[in-house]
Subunit: 157 residues, 2 copies
């Protein structure tokens, strides 16, 4: 079970953009900020736009910004934007297969094992849903936020 | 994020073997019970042996059985036997990279995002660690257990 490496990129990008809430930041600028390959980061940012976490604007002053307040963006929103929301466990109903197959009438309820696996996934989701991006940004020192702002905001004029 | 399909096989195999605790069941017999390909199931059973969940014996009456009481085998033991125990999220310390890189002295503590991702994984693990195989078997009806036993235990003589 593995999350894509881009999960880290998405989490850091959203947290960085939350520190410059009124600024549109280009993918290239964000990529330089993190030392990441710009074309691949752009794809992840597009997924965050599709999920309603970021909004994108075009033009010379265009770029990405949060689509809504950081207090309403959870870590789960960000992770599922790049990895989807599917349960990592898939039940293929093997209880209904083979020589030991259970008759259909015994299989009205979901398989007990699938239920337990589902419960674990809900616990994972619940843990990430309990953290909003504004909470993380609020815990950063002034120095960190100042450095992020200096790196992401282009000079005026 | 995806668990291998063999996770389902391992969970069902261990739950089935817990219903015939004193019997050694061959991989072929287990495979027929579930309608699964025997060679591939054998590989998963070997992983369960390596993890100390099952024990294997050889010879004409050989096969697989639980290596310890079902009350001391958790769902997490079974899942991690086939999928490993690695955290699905990997932190590559991108906070220390690029133009916005944090100085080393600010990075003594693990990255806050990695901490939150870790907490979610611990919640998932905790949920699966809270369920022991004996609990699942105890909730099965007599009919289910009788059918499993009839399918898995070879006739005497």
């Amino acid at each position: 079970m593995k999350l894509p490496e881009s999960t880290e990129w998405a989490l850091h990008s959203v947290t960085a953009l939350a520190q410059v809430p009124r600024e549109a930041v280009s993918a290239r600028r964000l990529a330089e900020h993190f030392g990441l390959p710009s074309p691949y980061l752009s794809k992840q940012l597009a997924l965050l736009v599709r999920a309603g976490v970021l909004s994108a604007s075009t033009g010379p002053r265009g770029g990405f910004r949060l689509a809504r307040p950081a207090s309403s963006i959870t870590l789960l929103d960000v992770v599922e934007a790049v990895d989807g929301s599917a349960d990592p466990y898939t039940c293929h109903e093997i209880r209904q297969q083979g020589r030991g197959a259970a008759p259909l009438e015994e299989c009205v309820e979901p398989c007990l094992l699938a239920q337990k696996m589902r419960k674990a996934h809900l616990a994972w989701q619940g843990s990430l849903r309990a953290v909003v991006v504004s909470e993380l940004v609020g815990s950063l020192s002034e120095e960190v936020v100042a450095r992020t702002r200096a790196s992401l905001i282009r000079a005026a004029g």
